[in-house]
Symmetry: D2
Subunit: 291 residues, 4 copies
Amino acid sequence: LETELVSHKKLSNYNPDVIFLGLPHGISMEFVKEHQNAGYKIIDLSGDFRLSSGEVYEQWYNTKHIYPEGIDEAVFGLPELFSNDIAKAKLVANPGCFPTGAVLSLAPLVKNELIDNQHIIVDSKTGVTGAGIKPKPVNLYSNVADNFTAYGLKKHRHTVEMEETLSSQTSDKVKLLFTPHLLPVDRGILTTTYSLPRKDIQEAAIKRLYADFYKNEPFVRITNTIPDLKSVRGSNFIDIMVAYDERTNKILTVSALDNLVKGAAGQAVENMNIMFGLERDAGLKHLPLKP
Amino acid sequence: LETELVSHKKLSNYNPDVIFLGLPHGISMEFVKEHQNAGYKIIDLSGDFRLSSGEVYEQWYNTKHIYPEGIDEAVFGLPELFSNDIAKAKLVANPGCFPTGAVLSLAPLVKNELIDNQHIIVDSKTGVTGAGIKPKPVNLYSNVADNFTAYGLKKHRHTVEMEETLSSQTSDKVKLLFTPHLLPVDRGILTTTYSLPRKDIQEAAIKRLYADFYKNEPFVRITNTIPDLKSVRGSNFIDIMVAYDERTNKILTVSALDNLVKGAAGQAVENMNIMFGLERDAGLKHLPLKP
Amino acid sequence: LETELVSHKKLSNYNPDVIFLGLPHGISMEFVKEHQNAGYKIIDLSGDFRLSSGEVYEQWYNTKHIYPEGIDEAVFGLPELFSNDIAKAKLVANPGCFPTGAVLSLAPLVKNELIDNQHIIVDSKTGVTGAGIKPKPVNLYSNVADNFTAYGLKKHRHTVEMEETLSSQTSDKVKLLFTPHLLPVDRGILTTTYSLPRKDIQEAAIKRLYADFYKNEPFVRITNTIPDLKSVRGSNFIDIMVAYDERTNKILTVSALDNLVKGAAGQAVENMNIMFGLERDAGLKHLPLKP
Amino acid sequence: LETELVSHKKLSNYNPDVIFLGLPHGISMEFVKEHQNAGYKIIDLSGDFRLSSGEVYEQWYNTKHIYPEGIDEAVFGLPELFSNDIAKAKLVANPGCFPTGAVLSLAPLVKNELIDNQHIIVDSKTGVTGAGIKPKPVNLYSNVADNFTAYGLKKHRHTVEMEETLSSQTSDKVKLLFTPHLLPVDRGILTTTYSLPRKDIQEAAIKRLYADFYKNEPFVRITNTIPDLKSVRGSNFIDIMVAYDERTNKILTVSALDNLVKGAAGQAVENMNIMFGLERDAGLKHLPLKP
């Protein structure tokens, strides 16, 4: 990091109510550690405080965690599952872009113990801003345009974030295989999940379950048509469709969100709204830009 | 179809050795029926002669098959699996673009009985030329660019083509869930498959198995890096990578091909080369256009 | 047109204040003629009422004008030049997307008689939504992506719209050559103009002139850096830069706007705001979506 | 440059007939100077030997030229104009991508003294590979996709290359205004030129002139339809169309080429073929990849 971290002293002059951290992982924890006793709340967009412990963090991020106490304190900022905790939190770990889509897609199934938690496949496709704005071969125009590929096979850090968050909704630990792919678009994530039912199910019943699960959620739209990126582009919405294939006895979901809004900055604002008792959609009312 | 089918009489004047049919399904069978006793060979790029029977065809295509005898006669034109039969065939059913990628990705596993044939997931992403060149909302620029979605959930016709072709390689019938997605690129298909091992396996052993399985195939490149569309763009190559995730006990494959070459016209030429004893890669030597 | 025009009678039930017409040219004039005595105002987005007379219209549109009285009544809805007239208008002809960019780029030069009005070049590049949403070969994804071309050489209808509007600002008739090009983007128009100074000029003076000319305009941003499409994407802004090349004695301008907002629907709303005494930017405050 | 230049000694071991230099400008001249007495021929793809003198070079490149003798010796490698000289050359300066398109578009007009050489406009639009493969903000996917802009206004180095090459075809010095724009495509340049006729002309006569001028050129296709990038993509062709607009008395041309082939490596091979008496299209027979 080229710029030095702003010191607590300097920040205090501004007397802020809340700080949004858009720092690389490993740097965020330094900031949070230094500022732990400040009066303001923190919403951290890095991966530093999303996992369950310093050990798990070190295992997936190959970095020692210098402030595990922060992990204990932090609330995972996925409003659809944790809004009560977020409302009282001093430190919110804003979820990763992929976990937001995958967890919201699967939570109704996991919480209701409808699927085998050992055989979940998460196949995601993301726009290139997921790789940051620092120019490098992976986000060079002529490498991305007309192209498509998978990456981070078997070991992408968002895997454990999905597993731990979903596991928190059930007594039966979730283990899943997550495969991200890189799309030639600037923003947006579409996630397709596959899972095996534990018992006899009907498509209509699952569809009702999803509609019911999210019925009070302003940014989740349960759809009957297949979600696509342009329908959420620039907005804080996540569109989710669930289906059951009787022929192969599989449940599949398709979800779409904008990784820069619901997958990052929009969700951060949503968390702030909850933390400060504001309207949930304050500053987040913009519609998708389509086409 | 606006244009009438060329009559057998007219075609005979040209005394062709082989005819390539680029007709819609349902029309191809009319042509083949009428021309069944002609001296020339036929390579049909439609879906009319790829399946096992008129009944299966009617079930997936919602069209009565008027020439089921052609189905019995036709050879499925996937050279890597059926080159001996292709060499002697009078009628070749050129494979669909998705089945070419999926079957070549999974054949080594199925033939060697390494995976559970009831739990295979095929998640494919295709360029927009897969939808044909007739302008319609689905291939309109402003609907495709910046966008990504799934389609044909649970009932895409290529599903049964994959299942039957893979089942022909083993005694244990294959049933799989196939989900196609539409990419904002003009050409190319990337297919990711997920399957469950039947027994204890090692990644290195599976990688060797793949290299060995295709060691004499000029157009299959088994790679250690993850395939991408640009590496095969404009060429007849298919790149395949296999991996094993010990953590979740899943096998995954990623493959890439150009749907207009190995997925259609290129493979048709490859079949012609085999049928006429020509060099396998005659007319197919062009390298990928990258970038 | 498949759907019949809504009759005046039916519309009256709704007692509207204003009607926006998004009809093809030739159909709009039928509607306006039928509804001429209705109480509501009309903002027409077609080309039917933008030109100076029925004769000129017929010459460029190859269509007889059935309601030339409407032409006399209509006000050209370019707020930066005609806001006083728009405020009093009953019928507003919303400008074409290309003329909006070209006229605002050149108006300060023409009005101040700085350039030779016989040697103006307008070279525009538009996103594909300019061609409408009806699928046809010209807006098919695989024809547009990776591609770029010119079209409508020498005879695009927006030529005369630019000429007449610019001519209205000076005593010396403007004649220009307009060449549109088709970009592989969904929305946005970038226009580059070239013209010859009539007298000695200085770049700094022209830059001041532009800043001054538009100093009270909320949607015109005079920039020192070169405008680009993403900086206006989804917004009602038009960015304009002017430069003088001493070496070749040419003035050039570069401007960018979103053809679906400032080039169409956004400007229509802006006109409504003026006609009804609302805030000029009511409903038009959204920022560009970048990236 | 990180890697050191290969010494003459090392290269001699390979006993090459010809060397292609793909070095940055400023570095190429070092190589050429060091290797000036070697037995092999050199085709240099940098800008170091394309201009008329060290002074002109320093003026446009802001770099001192360390080997102006090379400039005197070098032949400008545009086969359509200089094939006789290229055949005898020891050092060929392969043309820039923009000059190739602009010069071939305008040469028939300039050579035949049909236009005013002081009022030529060259408006070019290039794919992003023109900016090289080193990742930087200007070729970052999310800055290029959905975007379009101009750059290098008034001072792009290819301006002088166009002017000097065109001036070599006539006694009346050419001065032109060149404006490059950046397209969201990986490869391809489309150039539109505007010029003023010196005398009365007819469109049909100019079209015949172009057809005649290039009638023996294997890679120039004079077209009646407007050129587009996809029609030349991946090939060594340049398509050129000329038109005359009677209404404004302007001549316009539109040309398309692939900047990586006819605009760079393909033309370099073409030059080698001429230098060694090979077939002009040896290694250059590949057709455009369309779509």
